[in-house]
Amino acid sequence: MFSLEGITNFIHEWLNSHLSAIFALLAEFVLVGVAAIGLFAFLGLVLVWMERKVAAVMQLRLGPNRLGPKGIFQTSADTLKLIMKEALTPDNADKLLFNLAPFVVIIVAMLILAPISFAKNFQIWDINIGVLYVTAISSLSVIGVLMAGWSSGNKYSLLGAMRSGAQIVSYELSAGLSILTIIVLTGSLKISDIVASQENGWWIFKGHIPAIIAFVIFIIASTAETNRAPFDLAEAESELTAGFHTEYGGMKFALFFLAEYINIFIVCAIGATLFLGGWMPFHIGHWVAFNHIMDYIPSSFWFFGKTGFLIFLIMWFRWTFPRLRIDQLLNLEWKYLLPISMFNLLLMSVMAIMGWYF
């Protein structure tokens, strides 16, 4: 069966047989970096195109349809345009922070990519605290947003950044708690262990109602964490023109834009890994024949299919719901989501102790 494992193993052996161990490792670092950036660019192009097509379907339009089949090259052309643009820095901006902010945001997004398992045995770094690593790093992105908003020297940017700060810090909590709900069941923070534990069924099915509640809360919280509508208060086009990146143009803006889509991909990938079994095919208990058929679909297809479904869900939210107000947003988190997810975690712990799950 088709597997990416063969390719990585072949490269690893070939490098080790031609170079000394330390140079082989360095070469592997470089290769992984190039692959990650390549994936980045690819995801950016595809997700932006996907967003525009999803929006078009919701809005009775056609969407991009001129450049290439179904307008697939539209985003490449847009990127080219953004690269050609002048990178302006406003006069009353803090020059260093202003220019540094987009890179902070994009580097943070890149770092989270490391422990994600894209297919069977295809992962950059299977760190033993994988999920903790993801939640820890992802909360760093707020620093980039605050830097951008404060250093722009623009009141709209400042308001947007402050909103974003309050929002991301709040929603980290319930996102973390809903992740913990699944960790209680798996007993490991390692991504490969979490995926392996779902061989007989995904946690959303095995974990009864608490898992479903955790999944819903996770989706809401991750939509908020990525600053997507209906929680796009940091940008809030009709209120703050473009929020924290009002003053950014050209490629600096494009980095923010790209980071937004990469972050969507990452939260959806985490969601798919924790709740929908990551690259694990759809297995039902001991139905050997059925499970065997499912195994014939390559694991990368499963992973990207599940992630794509969650991304579509988040895009669907954006093109349906109006935006919340800042106090409503914080009320939702502190008065509803946080207590519910705490109680849910307790419930799940009891279930895990008593063994009340499949």
């Binding site: 929006a55 919701m58 809005q59 009775l60 339009r61 009141k155 709209y156 308001l159 909103r163 509508a229 209906p230 796009d232 208060l233 809030a236 086009e237 009709s238 209120e239 703050l240 023109t241 093109w319 349906t320 719901f321 109006p322 935006r323 919340l324 107000r325 800042i326 106090d327 409503q328």
Partner: protein, 371 residues
């Protein structure tokens, strides 16, 4: 005037919302004093699109001046023209043929629906939902097609003349309007499903931008804004013109006075407009579409006033005539100007997001405020 509540202190954030801003739907400039996200004061600055329409009309004949008013409130261009034509007819004591009256009222109501459709889409967009805009334009496009076939234009129709309408109806007119009513009735439930019933939308609108009936009267608010506060102010009921006294429709009133009340008023007004059109469309009488008038219209010496109900409220046309072929002075009383003046009162103490929502429910068209 703003001494007690609106005083600026050190540390307040002053923001220029506009003249170029996605939520002001034009070139309105609001100077907002903020304490964090809380609004302390809103000061509208006007004049960015002032074109001296009142002065311009002093050098135009009574046939020409009607069409400049299309450029005031461009979303209810037809109704503006209607007001001017009515005022001239009143001065001349001209009897308008029944057919023309029917056509005018049908056109007015179609314009009102088109205007409210656009408002609905823009309102949802102000709240961050983009999709409703396109759904609203699906229905509005049908009205525009009807207008285009009948008057030759989609936005500034220029269809009214003193004494009637410029040309007779298009042969397909009745069929097209009925098709539109069919489509409207089939699709209107989507509006409620997509926006009205949405919990986020309701939370954003209810209890926000409160305007009491007394305040609505003292600020001179008219139209849906006043009716949302429970002030019966529909000119079509108070002083019916053309065939409005022959049709049956309800003046929609809500007493809550908040943004949601104003929203519901406009949604229900669209239903009422459909009801009016439905009553008239089958019974358009035969006959002339225009009364006979002289080539050069001269009004008798005196002062003449006519008011109509546009999509935004009460539009008044005041003509002072010296007996010449041109007016001596023309003054328009536009609904948007008075409605905007209530904005500061409505949003003090609310958040920026509420300002946008409340401003959306005022349905501002800036060229109407700045003439």
């Amino acid at each position: 005037m703003f001494e007690e509540v609106g005083t600026t202190t050190e540390g307040d954030l002053i923001i220029n919302l506009g003249p170029q801003h996605p939520a002001t739907h034009g070139v309105l400039h609001l100077v907002i004093t903020l304490n964090g996200e809380i609004i302390k004061k809103v000061e509208p600055h006007l004049g960015y699109i002032h074109r001296s329409i009142e002065k311009m009309t002093e050098s135009l004949s009574y046939r020409q001046f009607i069409y400049v008013t299309s450029r005031m409130d461009y979303l209810s261009a037809h109704i503006n023209n209607h007001a001017c034509a009515l005022c001239v007819e009143k001065a001349l004591q001209l009897e308008v043929p029944q057919r023309a009256q029917y056509i005018r009222v049908i056109m007015d109501e179609l314009t009102r629906i088109a205007s409210h459709e656009l408002w609905w889409g823009a309102m949802a967009m102000d709240l961050g939902a983009f999709t409703p805009f396109f759904h609203a334009f699906r229905e509005r496009e049908k009205i525009n097609e009807i207008m285009e076939e009948t008057c030759g234009a989609r936005l500034t129709m220029n269809y009214m003349v003193p004494g009637g309408v410029m040309v007779d109806l298009h042969p397909d007119f009745q069929k097209k309007v009925k098709a539109f009513i069919q489509q409207y009735k089939a699709k209107i439930h989507e509006y409620d499903e997509l926006v009205t019933g949405n919990i986020i939308f309701q939370n954003r609108m209810k209890g926000i931008g409160y305007l009491s009936a007394e305040d609505a009267i003292s600020y001179g608010c008219t139209g849906p804004v006043a009716r949302g506060s429970g002030v019966a102010s529909d000119i079509r009921k108070i002083a019916p013109y053309d065939v409005y006294d022959k049709v049956e429709f309800d003046e929609v009133l809500q007493t809550e006075g908040d943004s949601f009340a104003r929203y519901m008023i406009r949604i229900q007004e669209m239903h009422q407009s459909i009801k009016i059109i439905g009553q008239l469309i089958d019974t358009i009488p035969d006959g002339n579409f225009q009364a006979k008038t002289k080539a050069v219209i001269k009004l008798p010496k005196g002062e003449f006033y006519q008011r109509v109900e546009t999509a935004r409220g009460e539009l008044g046309v005041y003509i002072v005539s010296e007996g010449a072929a041109q007016p001596y002075r023309i003054k328009y009383r536009s609904p948007g100007f008075s409605n905007l003046s209530a904005l500061d009162h409505m949003v003090r103490g609310h958040k920026i997001g509420d300002l946008i929502a409340a401003m959306g429910t005022l349905d501002l068209v800036i060229p109407d405020i700045d003439r």
